[in-house]
């Protein structure tokens, strides 16, 4: 009895650190991940305060002669219709980041649920879900994304402003192919968790399937999902930009970083900055997300590092 008390006393004197502080400290050690975090925060602030920061209306044409060079009035010059490129770049951040975040969160949520259900119930549920995933994974992604966006180009969601309705439609197309990876990931985790003692204990205590899935399976397989979500953010922003660049994503006049590159080819050498800055934004955001993901992987589970 005395020994037991002594032990619990020593234990309580060790300063207990919250899980988040440990993760946070480990994350801060990854310098590039911290830089990435700051970059992403800057971009997010840019997007949120676009209406305050932008000196002009991004849709207003003829502010200056077409293709004016950068000047104090127009920091990045004007485009083919005399619109202010800097303002458009800020507003484009809104659409591009909104699509990226929406697509990733929705598809990871679907993926986690599908993976957990598939791994937990096994049998025909598992084979059905896995066959669907395999089927979708074998199809050529980019041509199909182009195909779906081409089909849905004419659609609008009633009651929403044009830019948001376009953004949501393109997000749906990307979500349709976005949930496959995390489904497989979570299924694998759940398959191994299912056999572990604490799950059996929970079952013996009479916990329902739903409770076991939401209380035990999902929280325990969340670390790799968070990593794959962050890494996925970088992929989706490039993919959305590619669709918009090819003319099948969000179409002008709504500015996105991808479609701002669409018509630059004619004036590429005279106004190279028109091609440079939107692409640089895509590249930097994607790179930052990738580094954050790398940092999170190191922080959440050092063994996960390849």
């Amino acid at each position: 009895m005395a020994v037991a008390e002594l032990k619990s006393e020593t234990l309580s004197t060790i300063k207990e650190e919250h899980w988040f502080t440990v993760i946070g400290r480990r994350f801060l050690r990854h310098k590039l991940a911290v830089v990435g975090m700051i970059m992403v925060l800057i971009f997010i602030l840019m997007a949120i305060f676009a209406n305050v920061l932008a000196p002009y209306d991004p849709y207003k044409q003829g502010l200056a002669p077409s293709y004016s060079n950068p000047s104090p009035e127009h920091l990045l010059g004007t485009d083919e219709l005399g619109r202010d490129v800097f303002s458009r770049l800020l507003y484009a951040a809104r659409i591009s980041l909104f699509v990226t975040v929406l697509v990733n969160f929705v598809s990871e949520t679907i993926g986690v649920l599908m993976g957990a259900i598939s791994g937990y119930f096994g049998k025909w549920v598992d084979s059905l879900i896995q066959r669907i995933v395999e089927f979708l994974l074998t199809l050529p992604t980019l041509p199909l994304l182009l195909f779906f966006s081409a089909m849905l180009r004419g659609m609008t969601i009633p009651g929403l402003p044009d830019e948001w309705s376009k953004a949501i439609i393109i997000s749906l197309v990307l979500i349709a192919f976005g949930w496959l990876g995390s489904t497989r990931l979570v299924r694998g985790m759940v398959l191994s968790l299912r056999e572990q003692e604490f799950v059996q204990a929970a079952r013996a205590l009479g916990a329902s399937d739903w409770k076991i899935i939401t209380r035990h399976m999902i929280p325990n397989s969340l670390a790799p999902v968070i990593v794959s979500l962050t890494l996925g953010l970088g992929g989706v922003i490039v993919l959305e930009a590619a669709l918009s660049f090819l003319g099948f994503g969000i179409t002008p006049p709504v500015p996105t970083w991808g479609n701002m590159l669409q018509n630059v080819q004619e004036r590429m050498w005279q106004q190279p900055w028109l091609a440079f800055y939107p692409g640089l934004c895509i590249f930097l955001t994607s790179l930052s997300f990738n580094y954050i993901g790398d940092g999170l992987r190191d922080a959440l589970d050092p063994r996960l590092k390849l």
């Binding site: 089927f135 074998t138 199809l139 050529p140 980019l142 041509p143 199909l144 182009l146 195909f147 779906f148 081409a150 089909m151 849905l152 180009r153 004419g154 659609m155 970088g234 992929g235 490039v238 930009a241 590619a242 660049f245 090819l246 003319g247 099948f248 991808g258 590159l261 630059v264 080819q265 590429m268 050498w269 005279q270 190279p272 091609a275 440079f276 939107p278 692409g279 640089l280 895509i282 590249f283 994607s286 790179l287 997300f289 990738n290 580094y291 790398d294 390849l306």
Partner: protein, 376 residues
Amino acid sequence: MTNYLIRRFIQMSLVVVAASMAIYFLLWLAPGGPLDELRQAGRGGVRQNAGFNDEQIRRISEYLGLHRGPFWGYVAWLTGEDWFKAIGREELQTSTCRSAENTCSKGVVRGDFGTSWNIARGSPVGDVLLSRLRNTMILMLSATVLSLVIAIPIGIISAVKQYSRLDYFVTTFSFFGTAMPVFWFGLMMIILFGGNQSPLYKVFGFPYLPTGNVTLVRAPLPGSLLALLDATPGSALDIAVHAILPTMVLSLLYMAGWSRFMRSSMLEVLRQDFVRTARAKGLRERIVIVKHAMRNALIPLITIVVFQIPGVFGGATITETVFNWPGMGFLYVYALGASDYPVAMAFLFISAVLVVIASLLGDVLYTIVDPRIRFS
């Protein structure tokens, strides 16, 4: 093995049929399409007098075979329309087929993908695709070979010398490569190296590179690399010089991913017991790496190489578009934009077939390379 192969073939056919069916029905459900465009024109679009009345639209839909509806449309697309007459459903045939039997579509199962609606109106889709195949294969094969030749040694060396300066360089490079939007990278390369407006030419007199198309149309302009090499339009040299920029962009992209892949595969093998045994036997490090570790690390590469097969057919959509390289990917984007559904359908169908074949081929190759893997 035979049983396994038969089962796989049945599964594969089902997958391809299901995929093509899904795509075909989506085309019907989607808003837009050629008839909608005509109806729009009929309501007084840009050219008021060029409007189409209902009778004309009916004739056009019979000419294109759109009057059949999605179900019979798919049946005709898959199996041809010549046999409709034999079962007494002549009204399901297209108007041209009804009047001249030799123009009847034979269907995909007999290798006939129908006729193009828009981008090469009236010519067989198969011919349209074949005309682009050579260009795509030139680009994809050279990019694939070049990337493999460079990425494999780089990945292996950076795994063997983990945490060395080279390793950090490779890691950074692959991070940059995965984050880089291809189209932007392509545009930047064009600005730097392409055309007589490029800074490298204007400032340093560096011979500039062609930025689009596969061959010259007329004699090269002075100052370009083509003029320097005295390339005649249409020659192999001409094509090779045109391919430099797109190949470079595509290869850098592949290399970024593949060197990383190779590195992690090699790291995994190096940790295994048989490598430790080989070292313990006193073998020279060189032999351990080349003969024991490398050969095993190359096995996962099968997946990459095998899945390049559909790629060599389908091309690189984005790169081809940026460089105006008239290949398959470029054609597909063009066909989608112009609502030329037979061309788009044929492209997607062949891609899907090649993808399932590639995945089967990959699985079979694994059993050959690694006898421990067996299928039943």
